[in-house]
């Protein structure tokens, strides 16, 4: 019986080493929570703009979708800033965690993860830009959710595999949003804000709580 346990331990070791060496496991749950809070912050600013536009009698939705309108430019600016802030916050928490666990953040697995999530994200970005240029602003919100979902699913092979489920959730939201054009802000706030916070909290609870 004892001997059997030794062999089972050995197999367990091998499995762990294979996982550890091929995945980037320093990704911190706090990164998810931080990125989610940034997204909610961005959504709040957009919400405020929407309220003030409506207060002065403007058709907010039409302005938001109108290529080149001031409202749309503000939207793009807030969206871009939110994205950068979320990325920075996510990076900081993951950097801190990798320092704590004594692993480098710029490892081969990290590069692989980054590369595999960047491809769908870049394509999604290009598609969104073309939609805006052609006056299909309403499709930008679902496009972002859809490509982000695909990016996460693609990246899940190279990091904590649970991120897959976050990816599928973003896909579902993106698809639902395709039929509810004009409610992008709500879908964004939920997909990029709430879901990130839930996912981050779950990962933190599972892997980092001491």
């Amino acid at each position: 019986m004892d001997e059997k346990n030794v062999h089972l331990d050995t197999l367990q070791d091998i499995k762990q080493m294979m996982e550890k060496s091929s995945r980037f496991i320093s990704l911190s749950g706090l990164s998810g929570i931080g990125a989610g809070i940034c997204a909610l912050g961005g959504a709040f600013f957009i919400f405020r703009m929407m309220v003030s536009e409506r207060a002065r009698g403007a058709d907010y939705r039409q302005l938001a979708f109108e290529t080149g309108s001031e409202v749309q430019q503000s939207l793009l600016l807030i969206g871009g800033l939110t994205f950068i802030a979320a990325l920075l916050v996510a990076f900081v928490f993951t950097y801190l965690r990798s320092n704590n666990t004594g692993t480098t953040i710029w490892s081969k697995s990290a590069r692989r993860l980054l590369w595999n999530t960047m491809i769908p994200l870049l394509v999604g970005g290009i598609v969104s830009i073309r939609f805006i240029q052609w006056g299909y602003g309403g499709l930008v919100a679902p496009t972002c959710l859809l490509f982000y979902g695909l990016a996460l699913i693609n990246g899940s092979k190279y990091t904590l595999s649970e991120i897959r489920w976050l990816g599928f959730s973003e896909l579902l939201l993106g698809i639902a949003n395709l039929w509810l054009i004009g409610y992008g802000l709500m879908f964004w706030a939920f997909g990029f804000g709430v879901l990130h916070i839930i996912y981050g909290a779950m990962m933190w609870w599972k892997y980092e709580k001491q």
Binding site: M1, E3, K4, H7, L8, T10, L11, D13, I14, K15, M17, M18, K20, S21, S22, G102, T103, T104, S107, K108
Partner: protein
């Protein structure tokens, strides 16, 4: 396989060598520092185990440069992959036998 214990590879007795092989099997190549971090061993210890695996032609060594720093990467050979898989199979057989 009458006596699976014969098929257990002595070279893989060491946890460190087992760790090296596991990491190399799922990656095209891994450099010295990454291995050190993964397995959490000292330079000298890791180097000597790598040498054993290299002497048995289970792994290949490639010396290169990143900037001015040397960057030595390791990858598994066909023979190494075969030996490791045989070892895993032997382990599996042993566990089955003991059930």
């Amino acid at each position: 396989m009458n006596n699976p214990i014969e098929h257990l590879n002595k070279i893989f007795d060491s946890r460190i060598r087992l760790g090296i092989m596991s990491a190399l099997l799922v990656n095209e190549d891994v450099n010295f520092n990454d291995l050190k971090e993964l397995i959490q061993v000292t330079d000298g210890n890791l180097a000597s185990h790598l040498k054993t695996l290299e002497d048995n032609q289970y792994i290949k060594v490639k010396k290169g440069f990143v900037g001015r720093k040397t960057n030595t990467t390791y990858s598994v050979t066909k023979a190494g992959e075969k030996a490791f898989k045989a070892h895993l199979e032997a382990l599996e057989q042993m566990i089955k036998k003991l059930q």
